[in-house]
Symmetry: D2
Subunit: 333 residues, 4 copies
Amino acid sequence: MNELRFPNNRAFDFTAIGRLCIDLNANEINRPMEETKTFTKYVGGSPANIAIGMSRFGLNTAFIGKIADDQMGRFIRGYLEENRIDTGNVVTDDTGAVTGLAFTEIKSPTDCSILMYRDNAADLLLTPGEVSEALIANTKLLLISGTALAQSPSREAVFQALQYARKHGTIVAFDLDYRPYTWKSQEETAVYYNLAAEKCDILLGTREEFDRMECFEQEHGDTSTATRWFNHSAQIVIIKHGQEGSIAYTKDGASHRAQSYPAKVVKTFGAGDAYASGFLYGVMQGWTLEKSMSFGSASACIVISSHSCSDAMPGAEQVHDYIARCERGEIVV
Amino acid sequence: MNELRFPNNRAFDFTAIGRLCIDLNANEINRPMEETKTFTKYVGGSPANIAIGMSRFGLNTAFIGKIADDQMGRFIRGYLEENRIDTGNVVTDDTGAVTGLAFTEIKSPTDCSILMYRDNAADLLLTPGEVSEALIANTKLLLISGTALAQSPSREAVFQALQYARKHGTIVAFDLDYRPYTWKSQEETAVYYNLAAEKCDILLGTREEFDRMECFEQEHGDTSTATRWFNHSAQIVIIKHGQEGSIAYTKDGASHRAQSYPAKVVKTFGAGDAYASGFLYGVMQGWTLEKSMSFGSASACIVISSHSCSDAMPGAEQVHDYIARCERGEIVV
Amino acid sequence: MNELRFPNNRAFDFTAIGRLCIDLNANEINRPMEETKTFTKYVGGSPANIAIGMSRFGLNTAFIGKIADDQMGRFIRGYLEENRIDTGNVVTDDTGAVTGLAFTEIKSPTDCSILMYRDNAADLLLTPGEVSEALIANTKLLLISGTALAQSPSREAVFQALQYARKHGTIVAFDLDYRPYTWKSQEETAVYYNLAAEKCDILLGTREEFDRMECFEQEHGDTSTATRWFNHSAQIVIIKHGQEGSIAYTKDGASHRAQSYPAKVVKTFGAGDAYASGFLYGVMQGWTLEKSMSFGSASACIVISSHSCSDAMPGAEQVHDYIARCERGEIVV
Amino acid sequence: MNELRFPNNRAFDFTAIGRLCIDLNANEINRPMEETKTFTKYVGGSPANIAIGMSRFGLNTAFIGKIADDQMGRFIRGYLEENRIDTGNVVTDDTGAVTGLAFTEIKSPTDCSILMYRDNAADLLLTPGEVSEALIANTKLLLISGTALAQSPSREAVFQALQYARKHGTIVAFDLDYRPYTWKSQEETAVYYNLAAEKCDILLGTREEFDRMECFEQEHGDTSTATRWFNHSAQIVIIKHGQEGSIAYTKDGASHRAQSYPAKVVKTFGAGDAYASGFLYGVMQGWTLEKSMSFGSASACIVISSHSCSDAMPGAEQVHDYIARCERGEIVV
């Protein structure tokens, strides 16, 4: 059992706000992109992936975002709807903005990179007035993501969503998801990440992402990071240390670690999104943090063994099954 | 006596952050600017005026801001120094930005307007890294002003200043000072004003300025405004109702009104800045809110009877004397 | 025989300046892009396609352009080099610009559209100082393309290239290639197209493109168009009338039409580029305009029967063979 | 007599296109601007000054330009009209642009500088569609000025004006008037100056301005400069060599120099504009180049002996009188 208390009697278990984009994943892998001939198109963007995961776990899920008025935008809306995600608050841009793109390059399972197209991206044009107070008031858990803070007016839309969430007692998770594109300076990044994090109940990020937020601080390190946010609204702070695993810190001073599982890694993309959806699902089920984290880890293993991020997001059965197979020793690296 | 407790043992009584600009006041008044021939140059900008007022009241005063690397910028620095304001944290821009200008037009004492030059203004280029934590830690009262929130990176600099003030227990006053220039939308304005106001101890603004901040709210009106901010950090909320006078709301549920004084009005510019400096000075002296507000009102009367804003800011003697003369019936409209 | 006299003793037969980008062609055709799953990557951009065509016809070919410092940019450079095009004047951007993209949608052979990514495109960042006077002085025929005029500094680079061409007697062909993206207004388009066209010997465009250039003129129509440019530097003006075929106007008052050929059309993209390279090749061989135009038409037939633009550009043998097969009645629609 | 043949039967002798702005001249002179207290407001901008001069010489004069929708813009329109300049083609901006400003600093008669405000200036927003073909067709002499080429869409408006002038046989004078503000690079400057100069009959500039235009050329110097432009449309090229005086080159290979006059110099601003209007007036009267240049020189002497530029522009009588007084030895330095 964890200490988080989600509000009851709400139509939506989960709503995500932020980036909706297109992944173009190289079909020919284990080579540089210069030698790639063909790409497969998927819905992408960290909050999109997490929302897809949550919906596949069976949660009532909605999205707040903005898409381009073109074929890519319509593909995104269609895919969300196929995955039973409410798109009533996914607005179509009318300024001629384009859909953000992420071309993936998989040189080897551990040497992956992304070529981003973020200029004039529709998702960054979401305005505060397009954020539905009613939807947030009717949601148990709101997810915000760092990339949506990178530019106006999307930045203001996220702050307005946070204001509504505080007002209505909606729990908020913040997936730091720092991407260098579109931010103007490290200082700008830190200021807005900090303003947002102050208002969130659950923070998830890598050690490097937390360090980036703390560029104005003298003290670094997990303990000072966790303490800083517990002095605001945070109840759970998850800090990811790469190979060494993730640690969940709680307000009572405790730290929690999850079991990890083996995986036949194709690429590393999507691991964080799958982890976040698995973990948040567990927390919403009332599981212990350890169990939730393990569930997240197994979900991540499934995604990194696949070609895509969004499309590979597993259902709950699939994750339980993966864990069971690991425990039976059927999956080894 | 008021309830505010200022920290002790600090080198600076008062530090302002934000706009430093040039006022070009029409010498030929009571006519449209089309018929104006000559202008007189003064230092301007709401926080600059307030800082000048505070220094003339005898307080140890500093400024955090950015000036253009030109004759106008150097004039501003020189004038602040002549007024014994510490300019160690007034940075000179190196990007070719210009000094913001405000041409005033005085058609009649009650029909005044301003023609603003705010494109590429140096003051909006202040960065978070240029905000001195040491100075804020060594200040009793920090003043922020709404215009500095209008654009990046100045916006981030103000949020960083607020963060330092909260960390070190420095009292913060927020002069809303809303100006339509450089803001992109009413929503953007409201979001950042709200984020800043949450972290402030004293809020000063007109009813219209508070309404602007509340554009996402259903309920308007002084009581709901004051309650909203008392739920955050505010201890005093001053709402100005034009002719009908100002009301100071305090956390204990009380409201306070000041006496008003007659004045031979030349123009209305600068009234708010003179009021703010007079009021804040009184509060720092430990006076009652009523007495502080009256002192602010008298200070405003002096400024609106003069040609300039900054240059006309009175010393404490001058304000006490003005009040005495009013009480003796020597000043009538 | 045509009247154009190309300079002798030059190392390069043909140099193109302008857009280098990536085509992402839908592999699943005859459906909307919303239903497309995979895309194949090709080098694209009208002047790139024409240069590839010219090189495959056996001409010594060079390119003046700018590519992004990423995998897409390196792919473009590599492909040009594989096609024996001199890339000594293809500059790599150092500002973080991206490679322009064109996603193609083929709903039917006659219903094709393109989804363009032109924000922050590297090709539009070519500067006048990056245009080699020596290369243009050593080239017989320079091709400029309208898209490179759409934005600074690429616009200035093209005007500088034209200045060098005039100075050194290099013949200039102008492929109007109007694309709405990145132009701010129809007036802006017309002004710069006209300034460039004044300095060119051969103009190729559709009737609609010439109409766009003539938005400030009262008289429209082929005769007034051709006369206008013959009063400047033009010697050949080719106006394309879609289904009704193209007409070449010459300074002596004559008009010339080509034979057309049947084709099994897959898509219409690339027809103009293939036509331009075939026609210009013929003119450089000293063929009559009619023969040159027919060669261009046959070249276009080959490209529109294929999946790509650049990759499908034929060699001279292939074009001659296509014409022969048409004449033998072996190709019918 | 000079060789220029102006068209007959046109309603306007002279039309200028381009910058309309405000000069704010320091009233306290011979000191740095940091110490200046007051400024006097005048209409400014090189083409505005020249047009005012031409009108005062008695020529029918019109202006093509754009002004801000504010008090400064209305002041400019009023002043032009008071000076009998047709403002039917002076458009009022509707985008919120401001009026360009020039604060002058007169440290000594030979040490003068200008502090410019050119961000978001209304005059640079003139569009090609706002340029009246009818007015240019009805004008004998059109003046263009380099500053109007510095930014779109004003740049395109000038090129469109040049196109109309060529079409209708209107003589064009180009006052180079290079100002570093708003240009992005020296290359950009050179490209557009060259494109414009090709279409002009009379070029006036300093040696430094011509050098700037020739940044892509190997050869510099008056002879190569003059020859370059005679190969295009130029008939008179005036190159100013500062203290050493100006030289007018003509297509027949001749060079012409003017007599110079003494002046009690207050400041150097406006000398070039007064010279241009005096010279062009003389040329339109059919005077020899020498006489026209002397008239220009005397006009310049009058302006630099005064506090303003526009307001000090003399009438013809005044210039003749100045020359006579100089010849009688009544004016000495």
